[in-house]
Symmetry: C2
Subunit: 392 residues, 2 copies
Amino acid sequence: MTTNATPPKRGFTRTEFEARLERAQAAMTANELDGLVVTSPHDVRYFSGFATQFWESPTRPWFLIVPREGHVIAVIPEIGEPGMAMTWVDDIRTWPAPIPEDDGISLMKSALEGLPRRFGRIGWEMGREQVIRMPIKDFDRLRGQVSGLEFVDGSPTIWGLRMVKSPAEVAHIRHICQIASGAFERLPNTLSMGETELDASRKIRLELMHGGADLVPFAATISGHGGYDQIIVGPTDRVLGDGDVLFIDLGAIYDGYSSDFDRNYAIGSISDDVARAHEAVWQATEAGIAAARPGATTSDLWRAMAKVLEDAGSQGLNVGRMGHGLGMQLTEPPSNTPDDKTELVPGMVMTIEPGMEFVPGKMLVHEENVVITEDGCDLLTTRAPREMWRIG
Amino acid sequence: MTTNATPPKRGFTRTEFEARLERAQAAMTANELDGLVVTSPHDVRYFSGFATQFWESPTRPWFLIVPREGHVIAVIPEIGEPGMAMTWVDDIRTWPAPIPEDDGISLMKSALEGLPRRFGRIGWEMGREQVIRMPIKDFDRLRGQVSGLEFVDGSPTIWGLRMVKSPAEVAHIRHICQIASGAFERLPNTLSMGETELDASRKIRLELMHGGADLVPFAATISGHGGYDQIIVGPTDRVLGDGDVLFIDLGAIYDGYSSDFDRNYAIGSISDDVARAHEAVWQATEAGIAAARPGATTSDLWRAMAKVLEDAGSQGLNVGRMGHGLGMQLTEPPSNTPDDKTELVPGMVMTIEPGMEFVPGKMLVHEENVVITEDGCDLLTTRAPREMWRIG
């Protein structure tokens, strides 16, 4: 076992949840909502602290109502009652799910009808980077049944809250980024040329588990001779050979918070082209980190990185952006794109993720994670070496 | 490393995907659909073979159109094009996502307008145990824009296909069930009284990885003195003490297919009450396995198990059913409930999952996985021992 820094305490204090609710209620007043309804794993956990792996089962919908006045209400399957009772939520209403003909719909109707009204609008996860985790047939039925309460998009309100992390959340993210940094650094000790992407993936996962990660939902593991052409499909049984670049991108989890950064490994000897491209993405990352400070925008970050890559002869990138928010999920708003223009504020955790195609069909992508501070940013990851680690 | 049986070849043949498409097209004709649109990880993978962990990022929607006539069409973010090109799908249309103002909507509109029409209806994942993985605001926009094409619930069509597994799919599920069986059996060699639920979870995950599992998205790990009161929230830092029951439920993955079964461990010495309750759930499992054959229904399975549990003094169960379908997902339709009444046919993979509260607040749950055959069922798991494994 590898020793990592003392892990942050699991879970969050009641004060933290109260602060989340207060911020949410202020945002609802500003956005003219009488409440929010959340149904998806991360939003439910954010407002309640309810932690389960049971989201893997698609059978039952779960609802949390966050009202503009008063306490959070859980409307959930009976199977979840003892677990929800461990959280700070004390208004728990259940039904014996699964009951396909009425899986929570009549309970939700009466709960929504009982909410204090001021604006006649309730926010659901209807927009950007969100999903309503229930049969949409049932959602359609419910939204026709609650008279005088319009179902509107609550995503801007939810993301406005979740985008800015508390110190306790940042400590969680820093911890998992450090666990992943250690796993990346140790990988060359156990992996050899001639093994496969699948072997590499298994080995980095074992390093992460030994290092203290709870789960590893994302460990893209991809290789190619002289670079790769994509970063999301893999591992396969492709054998790592001389002149390959091995790319691993890790979304590991500690107590509900994710890392999201990658490393590139040189298998045997890489070409000068690849070394030059790596220097360019490494320098573009430096420029991104230097640009990450309060008052700058995500588009400023994008421009700082793009300038370095263009000067180095970038032929483009199929990723669509150069970094994004990070927190409970591998990727969260905002996006580092030319048009996003979200202003950075202290507490935002961002990935700095430049990449480029340097010859047709060959790309390199680099990534670090930072938190925006009062006067700049702090690196949460251990900075990648300027020259790729080598695997012989 | 532990030696397991030779793993089934990863991926599926082109013939298998052609057969899936043919069955889908026949079902669409029967259900009067001009096509299906799928957006969620397992449905996209089922029809295309596209395998990625990138679903962890909620930023970009993905669409696969399965038309009643002709070939599958992928409408996906640019970042996925090289990966989708590795599959059997050759009509791939992309946009440079993320573009919040038009993330695939105009591309989908024109793709849907170009489909051959006969019924004027297209199925989406609108119903039972399914989710539309895109902003519902965008879905609402799109369904108002494609004239003459009604968006209806495609879930019965999709589940009708996915519920009945091919021999290659069954081989995948059998393999991961065997890996999990081995991990369960080895756990007492490394876990001791005085360690925590979190330790137990880490150790079983390591056993699974060493045994050849790709991923372990579900490993509920829960303990209680003389039984437990719920089966979905845990692990925590609770210490395993004398007289506890440790419950672990494993959804491990091999090449996109899941196990779903649990084991109970006696920590030190358990009470006679607990031993009797374990005997009852073990016998109820026997009854469920005996009842699992073509022509029987899920409600017959439920009744066979319920009879044994009632005779043993069951005080009920908060789970809502006693087993369900299993495949790419931890839980799939149908459900073993009094009212489900789905007829079992060869190729269905089912969990047999009886459980009961035997004193107030203390329950035991048991589980095995079977595939329905021509004349009964085959056990995919290694049957749990009649007396619990002991951890000292």
